[in-house]
């Protein structure tokens, strides 16, 4: 297994690059990061719809979330494969297809995370905002979202780990990422599938363990910041 890693480290790390598209581990991380970043604005809109008191926003947003939760990611990939070229009017690369599918899929899951964050805030925050004369939109923008989004950072980072795992499906449509690279190695070596796929599994394992450790660190620092900012009860002076 060690020999396979030594011989193919570069392929696993960057794929065919610079003689071809960027691939391997870098492509896996890039694909996940790009999809998640693009999914954030979409999920914010969906989440606002999900907590909205207005039925025109609530019902469509809920429909989208439930439909996405009910379908396999693979179906979104195939739909994107079919629809994106039809809409744009020209063939697109596999990476584009994968990013579109992931953005749609992740938006729904992220929206539920953001919604949970908004609903976890005490209702008094919203009521106080409205009582001070802020409109619904201003209350959301200036009072609710800044607090909810900071609380949500750890969950969003865990969603990044899920996304990294989901990018492995890009291999089905021939996007050159980590799983694709391992399959390439496997088809060259032919007789060592156990070693190759163990190596692949260990790569994902180590990568995601490091990312989880990062999530825990971020979570701790947010908790620390928040408890540091809290004013001790004895210092509160009542005039």
């Amino acid at each position: 297994m060690w020999e396979i890693l030594q011989d193919n480290a570069l392929l696993l790390l960057v794929g065919q690059y610079p003689n071809g598209p960027m691939g391997g581990l870098v492509a896996t991380l890039g694909l996940a990061a790009l999809s998640l970043i693009l999914a954030i604005p979409c999920s914010l809109l969906l989440a606002l719809g999900r907590v909205s008191p207005y039925k025109v926003f609530y019902y469509p947003a809920s429909l989208v979330v439930y439909v996405v939760r009910g379908l396999p990611l693979l179906m979104f990939i195939f739909w994107a494969y079919f629809f994106v070229p039809l809409i744009i009017g020209r063939p697109v690369a596999g990476v584009t297809t994968m990013v579109v599918a992931l953005v749609v899929y992740e938006s729904a899951y992220l929206a539920e995370i953001i919604r949970a964050g908004i609903e976890a805030l005490p209702r008094g925050q919203y009521e106080a905002g409205r009582a001070l004369g802020l409109s619904y939109g201003a209350t959301m923008r200036k009072v609710i979202l800044p607090q909810a989004l900071v609380n949500m950072v750890p969950s969003m980072l865990s969603q990044f780990i899920s996304t990294v795992k989901e990018t492995s499906l890009a291999y089905v449509i021939g996007v050159q990422e980590l799983t694709y690279a391992a399959n390439q190695i496997n088809s060259v070596l032919l007789v060592k599938p156990l070693e190759v796929f163990t190596l692949l599994a260990l790569t994902y394992f180590v990568l995601n363990m490091i990312l989880s450790a990062g999530v825990v660190a971020v979570e701790r620092s947010i908790t620390r910041r928040r408890s540091a900012r809290r004013v001790p009860a004895t210092e509160v002076v009542i005039p």
Binding site: Y66, V67, R69, G70, L71, P72, L73, L74, M75, F78, W79, F82, L86, I87, I161, K165, E166, S168, L169, Y171, V172, T179, A182, N183, N186, P193, L194, E195, V196, F197, T198, L200, A201, Y204, F205, N208, M209, S212
Partner: protein, 233 residues
Amino acid sequence: MNYHLDFSVLLQPQYQSMLVQGLVLTLLLTALAWSIGFGMGTVLALVRLTGSRTADASISLYVAFHRNVPMMVHILFWYFGVPEILPDSISGWLNENWGEFYLAAVAIGLVTAAYVCEDLRSAVRSIPEGQMEASRALGLGYLAAMSKVILPQAFRIAIPPLVNQTLLLFKNTSLAMVIGVAELTASGREVENLTFRTFEAYAVVTIVYLCISFLLMWGGATLSRRFGLTGRH
């Protein structure tokens, strides 16, 4: 976008039967993987809750490994890697008898087991310890106390996450198509290849998936309304 919808093609008997067989295979795969996942997940949770240090360390490694590696990779590992170390008689049998179906079920089941183990463990932890102590004081053994007192409550507390795992498992059976299991997604692709009616083929598959998923969500909501418990609050 000039695309004329024509669902009538899919009503031809050969395509219809492909889609139905795909659905049957998806349901069979879901059932088998579910049994493996929930059976093994329960056993893992029971063993981990004994408090033995080696058990705790090895099971937490199992859980971490299965949660951090994509299910796709597990499926490829089981399909390409594992038959190599199995005795020839077993791998020969697998080659002749739908091996990819069983290997996919094992891969999906083992990943689900890791999640089920964690869900059950946190449900058990939300049950007051006095219950275990009372059962032991009444003379029940560890297994009897677990199976008669603790687990029935833990399952009821864990209904929402367990239903969610079931839904995810059902959706994830679509990944079995990469190793050639002709389940619903694969048969949709096959029909699309044969008829070139991409939209129609995908639409049918999508609607079937949605119906079953909504049925699972609705069933889960009903279950937790009827039998749900909230644990220690």
